[in-house]
């Protein structure tokens, strides 16, 4: 991937020698003799993502919100996952729905959405599918509902369907499916015949044995995994002595969950790699360093959620730093970074 000009060829060897890679990279970049920009595109469950960055469900509405921020570009994004969608419209939970906690936040939105048909008929046609991919996030309180949502989205421009069996904020379904490996597999089995689009199963960290759930959903036909959804938590208003969140409990996200997310990713990686199943890693990523940690641990794609609330222009910043990192480490494409975690025997 080096720029092959005569001069560049002459200098290349020298620059690699002075390597320590970082210094060589810097110097070469200064001399414009550096390798071409590293390739940030990545293959994911049969799809080609233009970058590894995926905007996470529930954090970016139905895909049209962030483009109102000057400097934000869909072209920096591999895929945008739409808000969790059920068969019928859902009003969602009473406020307060969100609350700041140390290094993170709680949310209990309650899957507010206008229903799958509305999303398909009135929202998807207006999204810029030439700028990035949009994925659905399918939810249900019965197996039949999950299957029907998959069937509806199959005939739509979304390029993949993420299965949310890990929503902690609804009374029925959601995490109740995700906490039981057998039930989780049943959801995937119910959806599998309904669509040819890649199915990405989103796993819950509130799960006793995440690797076992991963194994079950992969065997049931899941094409990819999404690791992790939020952890369940709560906060109390000491004056009113009431829970701050209207739903009492909420999902904890943000940097507070990053170490948990990395560990869960590490636990699922072995089983996923065995089946050649990619993982969308997520949980508390707020900068490029976090993103790189996830990639090394085994995230094929990198999810940004709460980090966007810190900074809606995070994607560009992560990409720039990621490219710098790859260049400095002489890695020509992002794919070569995935799962390069070294564990000493």
């Amino acid at each position: 991937m080096y720029v092959v000009t005569g001069l560049a060829r002459q200098y290349k060897a020298y620059l690699i020698v002075i390597g320590g890679h970082r210094l060589g990279g810097r110097l070469a970049a200064m001399l414009h003799l550096m390798p071409d920009k590293p390739d940030l595109s990545v293959a994911f469950a049969g799809l080609k993502l233009q970058t590894p960055l995926v905007l996470l469900s529930g954090c970016v509405g139905f895909g049209e919100e962030y483009t109102r921020v000057e400097g934000f570009s869909n072209r920096d994004i591999g895929a945008v996952i739409l808000k969790g969608t059920t068969l019928k419209p859902r009003l969602g939970n009473a406020p307060h729905r969100i609350y700041e906690t140390p290094s993170g936040m709680l949310n209990a939105i309650g899957l507010q959405n206008p229903g799958a048909r509305h999303v398909i008929e009135h929202i998807l046609p207006h999204l810029p599918h030439d700028e990035t991919q949009f994925w659905a996030n399918a939810n249900g309180s019965t197996l039949e509902e999950y299957a029907e949502v998959a069937r509806l989205f199959d005939d739509s421009p979304v390029t993949a369907i993420e299965i949310n069996i890990s929503c902690p904020n609804v009374k029925e379904g959601g995490v109740h499916f995700g906490n039981d490996p057998v039930m989780a597999a049943k959801v995937v089995e119910a959806m599998r015949p309904m669509t040819k689009k890649p199915l990405i199963t989103k796993l819950s960290p509130n799960n006793a044995d995440i690797a076992e759930t991963a194994r079950c959903v992969i065997e049931a036909g899941s094409d990819a995994l999404s690791v992790i959804n939020t952890l369940v938590g709560m906060a109390v208003d000491i004056e009113s002595r009431r829970p701050v969140i209207g739903n009492i409990s909420g999902g904890l996200s943000g940097p507070a969950i990053k170490p948990v997310a990395l560990w869960k990713l590490h636990q699922t990686r072995t089983i996923a790699a065995k089946h050649d199943i990619p993982i969308l890693g997520q949980g508390g990523i707020t900068n490029a360093r976090d993103a790189i940690e996830f990639a090394i641990t085994g995230a094929d794609a990198i999810g940004l959620g709460t980090g966007l609330f810190y900074d809606p222009l995070l994607p560009r910043k992560v990409l720039d730093r990621l490219a710098e990192y790859l260049t400095a480490h002489n890695i020509s494409n992002y794919t070569n970074l995935i799962g390069t975690l070294e564990i000493q025997a």
Partner: protein, 290 residues
Amino acid sequence: MHESFRNMIFEEQAEVIANIHYPGDQFILRLKAPKTAQHAKPGQFIHIRVSPDRSLRRPISIMLTHPGKGTVDLLVKVVGDGTRELRDRAVGEILPLLGPIGRPFDLSDTARRYVMIGGGVGIPPMIFAADALNGQADTAVFAGSEVEFPFALKPSQFLLPGIGGNTILGIASLEERGIPSRLASNAELYGCYEGYVPDLARDYLMALGEAERSRCILLACGPHPMLHAVARLGRELNLSTQLSLEEYMACGIGGCAGCVVKTLEEDGEHYRRVCVDGPVFSADILPGFA
């Protein structure tokens, strides 16, 4: 249906130009944020990072803009850790902000008289609205506070019907631009109406002739009990009423649906996002405010 509203939001690294403290733990912050200053409309807010350690930004209304100087003014009251950290930011420090955000007040019908009712840190959007309407439409500003007002005050030069006695002071900066204002407080502040600000506005509205009164539009921002009272007043007098609401926010740009308020529209109940569907809503669709 509540029509959707969309505008461009800018990310700016805003320098603190001034930070002036007032009694009652209030402070006025002047920030250099040229794009926000240029595009902001009354009723809109900024979403600001008060320190690098806080997860979430804080929503604060825009009180005034100086597009020429590229600055925006905010009035903030300390109510918790985030606003305390904001109070402690020194001149020269940089605070990342997003702005301007949200559906502004609808000030388009200049044939109407805009009666603006602000309580506490709900006063700022009223100042911005009054300033924008100055010379365009008739206005009257009523401001309430239970602590000292963080503004220079002076006896009002304008007579307002229904208001007399000791209720003589107005906000100096408005007065100087020809905008009539009066103040209300229960804290026995000199020159102010003793009582709640919606009652002061009510006295004024009741003293207007029927025809003049029906020309009025109510705008309000402030604590919940005040908004309830204004919504009731608007219903009682059959006046179009716009309320600016507050709710806890995460993204501030419409992505998370964390900041909702319940609305009742022709097609039933909805939860609308305060950040981008509001913060300004017609009281007609807010069943929670009656």
